[in-house]
């Protein structure tokens, strides 16, 4: 982090209508990400889970100008861990990292700013103009994706189960993992649970 120079840092907190408006349209619920493209620096948003209780989610947008990718990774990991019940989106433009968090947990600007400060990131609350700009972009779901951004599209677990996928899915149960574990009794065993990115 010492090598990273933040040129600007914006924090917007929105008491969002986004989750409600998006889920009010059944065709959007659970569907892959919007393909609308306007900007090239924000990753696509997954549709909110529609089988969950409708609550007014809050959105936080962090725009961080940065000098290297490690800043993005650091912030993303820190926020994802802190608010792991939320949905997080990040993409890198040439010099811009934007992180959007949707969470139903108790999160607000002051808390977030304070948290970021604990990990060495200077943050401030957005100006009204900045807030309006972010809200406008989100309300219209005009969220774009840069060519290099990682797709956050939710993929059905059964889609890749056929064929020669090297993965065994644990979406329904841990049986396959447990069975192998017990079958290999008599050997030293190692299990790691890891993020692929």
């Amino acid at each position: 982090m010492a090598r990273v120079r933040f040129l600007a840092f914006l924090v917007f907190a929105l008491t969002a209508t986004w989750a409600l408006t998006a889920c009010a349209r059944p065709s959007r619920c659970g569907a892959p990400n919007s393909t609308a493209r306007v900007s090239n620096d924000i990753a696509p948003m997954s549709s909110p889970p529609c089988n969950e209780q409708r609550v007014a989610a809050k959105l936080i947008v962090l725009a961080v100008e940065r000098l290297d990718e490690s800043a993005s990774q650091h912030i993303r990991a820190a926020l994802a861990e802190r608010y792991n019940q939320g949905l997080f989106f990040a993409a890198a433009g040439n010099d811009l990292v934007t992180i959007l968090a949707r969470t139903d947990s108790d999160i607000n600007v002051a808390n977030t700013v304070g948290f970021l400060q604990t990990i060495g990131i200077q943050a401030r609350e957005a100006t009204e103009q900045e807030y309006q700009a972010a809200e406008s972009a989100l309300t219209g779901r005009t969220i774009g994706v840069s060519a290099s951004a990682v797709s956050l599209d939710e993929q059905g677990p059964s889609r890749h189960d056929a064929g020669d996928s090297p993965l065994r899915s644990l979406d329904a149960s841990l049986d396959s993992l447990r069975d192998r574990f017990n079958r290999d009794k008599g050997k030293l065993r190692f299990v790691a649970i890891l993020s692929p990115t």
Binding site: A77, L188, R189
Partner: protein, 140 residues
């Protein structure tokens, strides 16, 4: 992990299960498949724990991750030869994590930045000694 365990112990009879869990925004099945493709070893089986389930993260969190601190991820467990998974994963013989500066789990097991060394050391201990390793985690 690949270097610390698989490459440095090419002849060790170890059963390795790598669970790729969707935790970060960029995590998805494709990313998991890419990781699985990059770690090819007959001793390894790869699993995918999707965002909607996180079954492994939940099961392995019990007794390891602090109450309410979410699923287990960025965690590494070794199990001795006698360990058996009955109703829940057994207590590991050795384990490490890289969670939140050590605040979400036992800070003595926090190994961020040195995980490769820790895994290597544990492999040495577990493969070159015959002593019993006390189980950790409190589960029967």
């Amino acid at each position: 992990m690949q270097d610390s365990i698989l490459k440095k112990f090419p002849d060790t009879d170890i059963s390795v299960s790598l669970v790729w869990v969707e935790m970060l925004p960029t995590d998805n099945r494709v990313a998991a498949e890419n990781m699985a493709a990059s770690i090819r070893d007959p001793r390894v089986v790869h699993y995918f724990d999707p965002r909607g389930a996180r079954l492994a993260g939940g099961a392995f969190a019990k007794g390891i991750i602090r109450e309410g601190a979410g699923p287990a991820w960025d965690v590494y467990f070794f199990y001795d030869k006698d360990a058996e998974w009955q109703h829940a994963p057994p207590g590991p013989a050795e384990w490490f994590h890289q969670l939140g500066g050590g605040t979400r789990a036992d800070p003595r097991r926090f190994a961020a930045g040195v995980i490769g060394d820790k895994l290597h050391e544990a492999m040495h201990r577990l493969t070159h000694t015959n002593c019993e390793h006390p189980r950790i985690g409190g589960r029967p």
